[in-house]
Amino acid sequence: MAASLVPKIYRSANKPTWCPGCGDYGVLEATTRALATLQVEPHRVAVVSGIGCSSRFPIFLNAYGFHSVHGRVLPIATGLKVANPELTVLAVGGDGDGLAIGAGHFPHAARRNPDITYIMMDNSIYGLTKGQISPTSRLQQRSSTTPWGNVDRPLNPVAMAVAAGASFVARGVSWAVAELADLIRQGIEHRGFAFIHAVSPCPTFNNTLAQIKPRVAPLPQGYDPTDPVRAFELALHTEALHTGVLYREPETIPYEERLAALEPPTVQDRQTFLQSLIDAYR
């Protein structure tokens, strides 16, 4: 194939319908670059999403896409990967999609560890429904559902991913496209569940760019990404928002391979096996 697959090839004919300045453009760009770096052919890529502005993502990609329902991106992607392990499977969606209605699936995808790269576009707001607080909205934040200020303390996606046992946890920001592309590339290359927390502001309903930008910081010198306690500690930092690979499990076997390894020594012919089962019921 040589290096013939340029980023543009991964874009579909459908022009993104996001607002001007939406962070999700950067994430889309980073994703196509990561795919181009890996030279994976479009027909071998499948992208699953939930519902939300960010979840429109697959519509703009040249790949197999499944724009599903709100919150179910991870179990859908898990089923897809287990059934069709040859595919490069991406799961994408918003902070509401993944941490509100989808919160129950996140720890289970993490602990099972299928070889999926999950990009959560976090704008700390519900974009598509026009600006309600999300699970990562800050305390006191005003929104259409918090006119008196938000009283729900924000969730910490990175800390939760580490606690649930995700084997690869990284953070990037939508405006640092090259770094984000590299993180996504590493996530795809990682053999197991890779969680990419992609901070991706929503200028229309929650323009946090100015607040967040000054807090973005690289990982400390000599940082050891294989220590979950350290990753947890860093995730709790409030003054700095560290980008990079915060956690990576050195040796990990993806879920679909563990499942495959379960099989009795030889997989049998279905007819023969069925006959033997029938006989056992006599």
């Binding site: 479009p42 724009h67 329902v69 287990v82 089962l277």
Partner: protein, 573 residues
């Protein structure tokens, strides 16, 4: 060898091994060449509560659990008291003589046997009591000894020599007591019968086997009574043929995984019960809109809400047919018997793939747990279709408007057929599109699939009088009972016929309409409160059926339906 038809009921405290005693008894009778038909109930509590296992042993095709009990085997006082009302007059009572003293007014034959003492003193363990009972009952009713002992040895093969030895001693203790201290006063014996070569399956086992035979490659599920053992069987089997099974974190995830796998090209399925189906409603709509094949088995239990998890009800028909916001294609099948559960599951995969839509199979607690001896399922003859696949040919239209409504699919990995599927309304390419004209076309396209499915052949079964005055319209697991009741009514001179509908949505209009034209009156018996199938029929056909409903947690007995037939029969025979 003499034709027999006997109903045995085992009743006692849950945890005493009542169920496994009955199960082994039934399977041994089947191996001895008799037809069997079992019914099982147990309490939802892990401990405590009354457990019942009923076995009908006979030679004709057994269609129901029968109306009355011939032999009541009571493990304790509750088993005696709760069983007595169903014991036929002059029936036989085998009971734990240590715990039960039959009422002086008892008019049948009683065999009190000190099961508890025997287990404690001769086997050294109260937990062996059920094997003592089994040995005694087998001896008393001439269940072939070799068949019984080898079956028990086989079932507990993995438990080690010590347990095996204890089992043998327990069986022998029961048998010996009968030989030495009991005088047989009734004519009943099981002996051997003509029906060899049968397999003994429960409805749930038949579903699992059917799925495997239909080419299942992916299963995801969440445990729930009374559906769990479908998954528990498949997890043992599926990896042995290269398939995959995931225990999901809940039912929503289970169906989500199934849809993901189906998108990936797998033949995929989940199994659940009412509460789980309720949670799947949103994703069923996604499967309809995104045109994804998926099979969902609902082993119904008594509702509403958590209800009675271990009790019978045909209570989820409304949900299966109407449980969706908006309208999209969906097929609902009802499994009617153990043998049919196999066939219906196979068909579910076939229909799901051909029509690219979700297919719900309704089974229920009664069918799922009862065992029957059936002809070995024809596993080698099964070739269910696979969704029609697209070829690369210009820009690929995943939702192409076709005459049938069915559009060629593409599975990730196929070169050049990249596309997006979505639950949003979309154009032929899968792009979101809301304009009224296109929307109307897409709704019509999806509906055309259902119009076609309504014409699938063989979706009803008919029996009874060829020129009926009264028609009995039934569905699901009550098939055998209805059939038995209709046969009896025919014998008594009533011109009654039954039409049993296997595809519940879309309804097989042609066959039902033809049947309705023949009859003067219609009776719809079903195990739910309001008569859900009667309502469903009424939405499509202008009829005023008589309803026979119940929702006490138990299936019908043939006599219930027979009596109702007599009651509503339009005019003299």
């Amino acid at each position: 060898m003499q034709p027999i038809d006997l109903v045995f009921r085992f009743g006692g405290e849950s945890g005493e091994g009542v169920i496994s005693c009955g199960e082994i008894f039934a399977q041994a009778a089947a191996r001895a060449g008799r037809e069997i038909y079992t019914v099982r109930t147990f309490p939802a509590e892990i401990r405590g509560g009354h457990a019942v296992y009923q076995v009908r042993v006979g030679d004709d095709l057994l269609l129901s659990q029968g109306d009355r009990v011939d032999v009541l085997v009571a493990f304790n006082g509750e088993g005696y008291e709760k069983g007595l009302p169903d014991l036929r007059p002059g029936g036989i009572l085998v009971c734990d003589g240590d715990q039960v003293t039959p009422d002086p007014s008892f008019d049948g034959t009683a065999y009190p046997i000190p099961f508890t003492t025997l287990a404690r003193d001769q086997v050294g363990s109260l937990r062996a009591k059920n094997m003592v009972v089994l040995g005694a009952v087998a001896e008393l009713f001439d269940l072939p000894r070799e068949v019984l002992f080898s079956l028990v040895a086989q079932r507990f093969a993995r438990k080690g020599e010590e347990a095996q030895e204890a089992n043998r001693r327990a069986l022998e203790a029961g048998a010996a007591y009968v030989r030495d201290h009991v005088t047989k006063q009734d004519p009943y014996r099981i002996g051997t019968g003509p029906h060899t070569g049968r397999v003994v399956l429960s409805g749930n086992e038949a579903v699992a086997l059917g799925a495997l035979a239909a080419g299942l490659t992916f299963f995801a599920g969440y445990p729930i009574t009374p559906a769990s053992d479908i998954m528990e069987n498949l997890v043992r089997w599926l990896p042995q043929v290269g398939g995959r099974l995931v225990q999901a974190e809940d039912e929503i995830a289970a169906l989500a995984m199934v849809l993901g796998a189906s998108f990936g090209g797998a033949r995929a399925m989940t199994a659940t019960s009412g509460p789980g189906l309720s949670l799947m409603v949103e994703l069923l709509g996604l499967a309809s809109a995104a045109e994804l094949p998926a099979v969902v088995v609902d082993v119904q239990r008594a509702g509403p809400s958590t209800g009675m998890p271990t009790k019978e009800e045909q209570g989820d028909l409304n949900l299966a047919v109407w449980g969706a916001h908006g309208e999209g294609p969906r097929i609902v099948l009802g499994a009617t018997s153990v043998a049919d559960a196999f066939q219906t599951t196979v068909q579910a995969f076939d229909l799901a793939e051909r029509y690219q839509c979700p297919v719900i199979v309704l089974s229920d607690q009664f069918l799922g747990f009862r065992k029957a001896s059936v002809a070995p399922p024809p596993v080698d003859e099964i070739r269910p279709s696979y969704r029609i696949l697209a070829r690369r040919n210009g820009a690929y239209r995943r939702f192409q408007l076709t005459e049938s409504g069915i559009s060629p699919a593409a599975v990730p990995g196929m070169v050049g057929l990249q596309h997006v599927i979505t639950g949003l309304e979309h154009d032929e390419f899968g792009r979101p599109a809301y304009d009224p004209a296109r929307r109307t076309q897409m709704m019509a396209k999806r509906a055309r699939k259902m119009a076609l499915a309504a014409q699938e052949p063989g979706m009803t079964r008919r029996w009874g009088h060829p020129e009926p005055v009264l028609g009995v319209l039934g569905w699901g697991s009550q098939e055998g009972v209805i059939r038995e009741a209709v046969a009896r009514a025919n014998r008594e001179g009533y011109r009654v016929a039954a039409l049993h509908t296997r595809m519940l949505w879309p309804l097989p209009h042609g066959e039902i309409r033809a049947f309705l034209r023949q009859v003067k009156a219609v009776l719809v018996p079903e195990v739910n409160f309001s008569g859900q199938f009667a309502n469903l029929l009424r939405t499509q056909f202008t009829i005023e059926p008589h309803r026979l409903t119940k929702s006490d947690g138990l299936p019908f007995r043939p006599v219930d339906i027979y009596e109702k037939i007599k009651e509503v029969y339009p005019d003299g025979r």
